[in-house]
Symmetry: C2
Subunit: 118 residues, 2 copies
DNA sequence: CCGCATCCGTTACGATACTG
DNA sequence: CAGTATCGTAACGGATGCGG
């Protein structure tokens, strides 16, 4: 359920960051939290990229175990619950903004439909 | 071989950036170019994370077609060749530095062996 | 209903062997 | 040395089931 141990490929900090967020979906979940204020499981499912339920559950579990996100009411039932960023997760904001800016500047020739955030 | 079309999941710039560099290896190749001055195929293979030959060839081909990197001597034979960043690829530097900094600050509790770059 | 877990076909990865 | 071919394995992705 997502909390299987991470395989750290090296001691390089960039490599280690990718061992955590270096897949197609994890950063999108963090984007939803940082930029769009997404909070619940079904709100994440509504994002335009259409993550599937098992992947979402797996990543939420992993991000929780690494303390990038946490549940707003740890004691409450799942249906009443929501997620929010921790300081650690929120600290990824400049990275995401940098990615978005780079994308908008350098990927336009290959993907004309890229829009600006906000 | 790597230049198959990219599937753009949405118009979101962050999502689009991940459609290009959102896997475990692509950013490491760019890291090698930006931070360690790696230039040749065999030098990439020597990185501590040990990318395999087919993945490396595939990613180099993809990054070339998207003009994040280019060959230093396009006309020369493969064995005499090397890669370098284009402006577009080099523009990812702040993103990589941000990732490294985040990692060093927030991943230490889970991976004590993280070292600093340089 | 909502938040997952499970099943299962398909795709991507990763190690190794091999070729020009 | 710079790749390509092959093939076993792991991850993904969609459908569905199920408990609270």
């Amino acid at each position: 359920m997502g909390d299987e141990k991470i395989h750290w490929r090296s001691g390089c900090p960039i490599s280690s960051a990718l061992d955590v967020v270096g897949d197609r979906w994890t950063i999108l979940i963090i984007r939803d939290l940082i930029i769009y204020g997404t909070r619940t499981y079904s709100e994440f499912l509504d994002s335009p990229e259409k993550i599937s339920t098992n992947i979402l559950a797996d990543r939420l579990s992993l991000l929780t175990s690494l303390k990038l996100i946490e549940r707003t009411q740890p004691e409450a039932a799942a249906r009443n619950n929501a997620f929010r960023l921790t300081k650690s997760g929120a600290a990824l904001r400049p990275v995401l903004l940098g990615l978005g800016k780079w994308s908008h500047t350098h990927l336009k020739p290959f993907h004309a439909d890229i829009v600006k955030i906000h």
